[in-house]
């Protein structure tokens, strides 16, 4: 017979489900109780059965191989109808409720059943602790009672179990929270020092708990910053004394890597000893290093912003876009700018910026700002403003609209600063630039700018264009080489070297090629500059010297023509005088002979003068040809000394050749070199004291040879040094008469030496004589090599 449902079936099932026990694994506790019931009642089967909606489920089942049966056939379904009583069926065969029960009529052939209901807190019967036998029997009172007590134990166990589950869940929840918050936890026995940390506590400091074992309160004491320990100690005392509800402290703890970790500690006493002392205390340690760092960064950045605003050379503002630019914020710097305190602008109906802006600028400012705001652009203004002191200043302002999420304008942010000085400076620069620019464009001298690297023109003035016949645009397409005849390339290079070394070049004469092909003689001067982008450039000042050249040529031609014309009569004069003076045409009276000698000497001097003039003219006209050969130097020197010995003799001066460097090969025109030496020697002789000596000294300097002519005369005066190699120069104009000579000798010598790839120079100490020298490169001639080869054969 099927059992009826208890009147509180719904509440009963709810209570059962709350236990969360159905279909859980077997548990020893329940089996133990079943075992006890089985032993006490001396039956082969004992079961802890819980009656579910449609079945009975066995939490424990001893002596029977089953975990559940349908509720329809369950003895227990009947037992729970009488919660206060133990249902005892002494012989099921005889009980109408169970006689037809398949568990009775069929296996396992139950005959005896005794079930003590398991009663929950509110009286619901959840199931039974029951004992079963295969034969009819009875239970004595002790057995009945025990079964009842044991059923109470089962319910106790079930409730304990439920509590445990809840606790477990609670703990899990707490752990999840702690883990999620990444908190280190600690529990400290204040009395014994025993301390328990979680794994996170250790990892916060770079350790594992194992690394730190054995842990105690000493672990904390060791790792905490000593200064912070003191603070912590004081706070603890306050907490223990009840002054503080909980303990809360910031402290630094040493990380394994040596750095300090900033920790926020919080905790409280959770139990006390019987005599009121704190016993257990628990709490958390949180790593707030990052938090502090970002807070610090925020603070720094804010401080920086403030410093920037206060150091800004102008005022920062926030204002409304209204007719008077109502100020919402204005930095103090506005006082420096306008002479008015920020407060004056910020207070209700205070000063407006329009009140101090130049009346001519107000509408322009308004329009510019409105236009910028419409386009969502920044605006940029320069306008005039009257300072509180009365003077006008130029103000530059940059600002931008600030909009809300819907795109509506909230206010305008910007800054303004004083540019009066800069403006004044700029005005001065503009005027000066205009002046320079006029000078540059109107100058009657051609000016051009080239790149140092490749000679390309970068800029030029109109006069330069006119000079070479190219348009401005065309000039910028060409380089120096295109308008320079190739024969000037080496000279150009020399000037570039000079430019590179000294930063200047010139004066330098050359020709430029006009666009129509004709040559333009020019005189150049220039300086090296660095362009703003760091490129080296050359400013050249180009003077058209066509006219000067033409006149020079005329002069030279004139000199040449005159000299030639003079020479013919001179030839006759000096020739005939020489014949007479030599006595070949018969003896003359002494006084006549003396006069004629004077005439002859001066005729010779005139000849020399004319020869020098002609040489000079040839040199200047480039008509002089040099017969350059690699040859021995020594014979040329010997010949020079020999050739000038007679002349020296007339002054009572001795010539001494000092050439102990052996014979050297030089690449020269022998005749010109002799001319140079004759010049040197005649000068030296003329300026030597009577009975003096002039040394011709040859010294070798690496791959060069220096030929020096040394005298012991008065030396070269300082004022003469600079122009000693110039044409028609003599130390004293009276010298030419006293000492003889044209004043062209050294100028010619210099030109000769330089044409032969040598250098000329002099050293002199006033009162101690002078040394004039020429330096030539030594040739390693093929001839010499062959000679040497020949010598070895």
């Amino acid at each position: 017979m099927k059992a009826a449902l208890p009147p509180n079936e719904d509440a009963r099932l709810l209570a059962l489900y709350r236990l969360d026990v159905l279909d859980t694994p077997r548990e020893q506790n329940f089996d133990d109780i079943a075992q006890l019931a089985m032993s006490v009642c001396e039956v082969p089967i004992a079961v802890v059965s819980l009656v579910d909606r449609d079945r009975q489920w066995f939490k424990s089942c001893l002596g029977l191989d089953a975990t559940e049966t349908p509720r329809d056939v369950a003895f227990c379904a009947h037992a729970i109808l009488t919660p206060q009583e133990t249902l005892i069926v002494e012989d099921a065969m005889l009980d109408p409720r169970f006689a037809d029960n398949p568990l009775v009529t069929d296996a396992p052939f139950i005959r005896f059943y005794a079930g003590a209901p398991l009663i929950a807190k509110n009286g619901e019967a959840l199931g039974t602790l029951c004992v079963v036998d295969y034969r009819p029997r009875q239970l004595n009172d002790l057995q009945k009672n025990t079964l009842r007590l044991l059923s109470n134990q089962v319910i106790q166990l079930l409730q304990l179990r439920e509590t445990n589950i809840a606790l477990k869940q609670e703990r899990q929840h707490i752990e999840d929270v702690i883990k999620g918050a990444n908190l280190g936890t600690w529990r400290w026995n204040v009395q014994t020092g025993e301390t328990i940390f979680n794994e996170r506590w250790a990892s916060m400091l770079g350790y594992t708990l194992e690394d730190l074992a054995p842990v105690s309160i000493k672990t904390w004491l060791t790792l905490c910053h000593p200064e912070d320990l003191k603070t912590s100690g004081k706070l603890l005392e306050k907490h223990f004394s009840g002054e503080l509800d909980h303990y809360e402290c910031h402290c630094r703890m040493k990380h394994k890597n040596g750095e300090w970790v900033n920790v926020y500690a919080r905790g409280r006493v959770i139990s006390s000893t019987t005599d009121g002392k704190p016993l257990w205390m628990s709490g958390t340690h949180g790593d707030i290093t990052e938090l502090q760092r970002s807070r610090l960064q925020l603070q720094e950045s804010e401080a920086r912003l403030q410093t920037m605003i206060s150091n800004f050379p102008g005022a920062v503002y926030r204002c409304r876009n209204d007719a008077r630019w109502s100020m919402l914020y204005l930095s103090d710097a506005v006082q420096r700018l306008t002479g008015h305190h920020a407060e004056e602008f910020l207070r209700e109906n205070g000063l407006g910026f329009n009140d101090i802006t130049h009346v001519d600028d107000i509408s322009r400012i308004y329009e510019t700002v409105q236009q910028a705001l419409i386009n969502n652009h920044a605006f940029h203004l320069i306008y005039r403003m009257q300072h509180a002191a009365g003077h006008w200043i130029y103000v530059q302002e940059v600002g931008t609209g600030v909009y809300d999420q819907t795109g509506a304008l909230k206010y305008i942010d910007g800054f303004m600063w004083d540019i009066t000085e800069a403006k004044a400076a700029q005005d001065v620069i503009e005027v000066s630039e205009k002046k320079l620019s006029t000078l540059y464009t109107q100058a009657p001298m051609a000016i051009a700018l080239n790149k140092f690297s490749d000679g390309q023109y970068v800029e030029c003035n109109p006069e330069f264009c006119r000079l070479i016949g190219y348009s401005h645009q065309e000039v910028l397409q060409i380089g120096n080489d295109q308008i320079t005849p190739p024969e000037y390339y080496p000279n150009d290079y020399e000037q570039l070297q000079c430019l590179h070394l000294t930063g200047r070049y010139g004066p330098y004469e050359k020709n430029l090629i006009h666009r129509d092909g004709h040559l333009i003689p020019v005189l150049l001067n220039g300086v090296l500059i660095e362009s703003p982008n760091g490129e080296q450039q050359i400013w050249s000042f180009v003077q058209d010297i066509t006219e000067r050249k033409r006149i020079e040529q005329m002069k030279n031609e004139f000199v040449s023509a005159v000299s030639h014309e003079l020479r013919t009569p001179l030839t006759s004069i000096s020739g005939s005088l020489k014949l007479i003076v030599s006595g070949m045409l018969g003896e003359l009276p002494d006084n006549v002979k003396n006069m004629l000698s004077i005439a002859h000497k001066n005729a010779l001097r005139l000849t020399l003068l004319i020869n020098d003039l002609l040489d000079m003219e040839k040199l200047l006209a480039g008509k002089m040809v040099f017969d350059m050969r690699t040859q021995s130097l020594l014979p040329i020197l010997e010949q020079s000394v020999e050739g000038n010995a007679a002349y020296a003799d007339t002054f009572g001066v001795r010539l001494a050749l000092q050439a102990d460097v052996g014979d050297l090969q030089v690449f020269v025109d022998a005749q010109r070199l002799q001319q140079i030496l004759a010049n040197f020697i005649s000068n030296a002789v003329k300026f030597s004291p009577p009975q003096g000596q002039v040394e011709i000294k040859v010294t070798r300097m690496d791959d060069q040879v220096k030929i020096a002519v040394i005298d012991h005369g008065p030396g070269v005066s300082d004022e003469f040094r600079a122009r000693i190699f110039q044409k028609f120069s003599q130390a004293d104009s009276s010298d030419s008469r006293q000492r003889g000579g044209t004043g062209l000798g050294l100028a010619i010598s210099k030109a000769f030496v330089e044409r032969m790839q040598g250098t000329i120079g002099f050293d002199s100490e006033l009162g101690k004589g002078a040394t004039f020298f020429a330096i030539f490169p030594i040739s390693i001639s093929e001839e010499k090599n062959i000679n040497q080869a020949g010598n070895t054969v």
């Binding site: 030639h564 030839t571 006759s572 000096s574 005939s576 020489k578 014949l579 030599s582 045409l585 002089m624």
Partner: protein, 129 residues
Amino acid sequence: MTRELTRILYVEDDPDIQAIAMMVLETISGFTVEACSCGSDALQKAVAFNPDLILLDVMMPGMDGPETLKGLRGFPELETTPVVFMTAKVQPQEVQAYLGMGAVGVIAKPFDPMTLAQELRDIWGRQQT
């Protein structure tokens, strides 16, 4: 067997220079000198004079030295007569040019009257060997 230099045809347009040279060559040094004042004068007199050596000024009005030389060489009798130029133009390449025309020597102007005769003898001597 070397022959001595005795007969010189001298062409010089400047009469003063001519006079000095004549003084040196004829009076002092004892040469037989036929003086001509221009190129054409020389062409007229040369064959008849039959000179050992011809001394030619370069710069002359009308026919200059080189032209006169060319004209003289037109006479078979004067084909091999040594010619010496007198000139102020004595730069090396100028000297080379005169020698290239067939001159055997160049005497620089203004000449030294004391050494003129000896210079001519030297050139003559070189010619003979």
